[in-house]
Symmetry: C2
């Protein structure tokens, strides 16, 4: 990989003027692991910081087969009438595939060519600080470039939902009609995170079944603790294919935004998230400097085996590694 | 605090002979933060390790007002017909009250005087490695002393449920009849952790309402991912006060134990938990050595404020602290 030839000043100007080519280069810089790029990237981010923050950040995840790409395309079209929209994907498993860029570009054709929209897939390869940390930095660059609505979607089967939840204001879960087996795809804790549950493909023969699912989910929600914002969770029916119910979902997001702005929840959440990001960054640094240290790495597998077999207590194993 | 006068050998013999006085002293040693005690404690634990592991570990939590103490007393009486039972409490907030010892002793009178049972509240004060880490070590000492059933209960309003879940084989949630507001006391993710949900106080006028709640919870469970063990979650009605339905719950725990032993889940879970404990111990060590370092501690508050206000990016804040 070659270091970026542009100066921080040039990149900054390009970003805040929303030059998409420069924005893409700036993102590549942020994702780079070259030491000189990392220093430049941090400077760029600091310069951009005053232009960030005033936005609506939406996290979107879905059970398998729920039609997430089509949903984001349809919702995205509506959003771009009000705001410039950036769509970011977060996929901790992307280092395995490395082919996600092409995949994402063809997956959401309309957003890719919409002048008011910008789409960026997960970085591939090994990233210092993790894919989630980089996605947060990319999100800030996009905000500095004037994208006032950011969709962060989870891709693949990664455990990325919690990371996404921690970087957005509004979390949307896409589901399908039908209970039981079909819904076993929901991962632990996801339903409770959702501010809005959209039952997609509620069209044709599926419509009645979807209504029933809506009723059932509403019953389930009674057994959940209140959402963090204090605003009741919503269940909506929609069809991304026929573009029904999607506008109502966007209205709901905006209403949630207004309410949380007014109550102060929005500002508190953003502050808390900033701190959380910093702590995560530190944790990750501490953990990687520890486990990647030669003396630790050499002993690790042997000690892990002994602890696993019950031949050594976890605290002794920990202490032996720490003493290295 | 005075260091324990007994040798590791004396303590070890006393523990494996189930001398309750020595066991209590050994636990106090394990909880001690004096450097010489910590070295002794680790040696003691290593010696005890071969006597641990072959046990049933049950985590119990409950919504406020669900009658957890009475439930554990009644269940405990039944368990002691089959096994020697230790009841441990985990309460990360106990450092605030410091009075939990007396509280617990009077709270479960029958268990306290039962010769086949042993009760130990959360340690109070500041504990290196955290209350959860110490509870796990105490659990191992109790197993070495021949307690083949261990109940770990959550106390107070701490965020201790996940810690308990990670140290047990079977997680039991105590609830009450009635949906809606009454159930808002359930914390996030708890319902999904449960292997068995017991609706307590299902007696008298409350019985019909409890049956309805059971039906509702069974419906809710359809929307949850499969339990880690692959065994269906159970919902039971019981009355700890009248001692109805409690024996059936104990039978369920034993059946779960047999099934997971047979499937190999039990052994895998225990191995994974050992590794998890080691990793948590390391994480906690890294994090406390970092944040308690003078140069970090001095700058921390100022940097936190700047990050919180959005005047500094989280990564810059992290890097400034790391560079200290």
């Amino acid at each position: 990989m070659k270091s970026n030839p542009n100066s921080v000043e040039e990149l900054y100007t390009g970003v805040v003027e929303n030059n998409k080519v420069i924005l893409s280069q700036a993102i590549t810089l942020i994702e780079s692991t070259l030491p000189e790029d990392m220093i430049k990237g941090e400077k760029l981010l600091e310069k951009c910081l005053p232009h960030t923050g005033d936005s609506i950040r939406i996290g979107i995840t879905g059970v398998p087969g729920s039609g997430k790409s089509t949903f984001i395309e349809t919702l995205g079209e509506i959003i771009t009438n009000d705001y410039k929209l950036a769509v970011l994907a977060i996929d901790p498993s992307s280092k395995k595939t490395k082919g996600s860029i092409l995949g994402d570009k063809t997956r959401m054709k309309n957003i890719a060519i919409n002048p008011n929209a910008f789409i960026r897939p997960s970085p591939s390869g090994k990233i210092l600080g993790g894919v989630a940390a980089k996605t947060r930095e990319v999100l800030l660059l996009c905000e500095a470039a004037g994208y006032k609505c950011i969709i962060v979607e989870t891709v693949g089967v990664g455990q990325s939902e919690t990371s996404v939840y921690e970087m957005v204001d509004f979390f949307l879960l896409l589901m399908l009609s039908g209970a039981g087996d079909e819904l076993q795809g929901i991962k632990k804790g996801i339903l409770e995170m959702a501010d809005l549950i959209a039952i997609n493909k509620a069209d044709g023969d599926n419509k009645e079944k979807s209504k029933l699912t809506k009723t059932q989910i509403n019953q389930v929600l009674h057994f959940f603790p209140e959402s963090d914002s204090g605003i009741d969770r919503q269940v909506h029916l929609c069809s991304a294919l026929l573009n029904t119910g999607i506008k109502e979902i966007w209205d709901e997001v905006r209403s949630h935004h207004r309410k949380t702005k007014k109550s102060g929840f929005y500002d508190n959440l953003r502050s808390d998230q900033q701190l959380l990001w910093m702590e995560e960054y530190i944790d990750r640094f501490l953990s990687s400097s520890f486990y990647e240290h030669n003396l630790v790495a050499n002993k690790l597998e042997d000690i892990r085996q002994q602890v696993k077999n019950g031949h050594m207590s976890p605290q002794k194993g920990a202490r032996m590694l720490i003493n290295s």
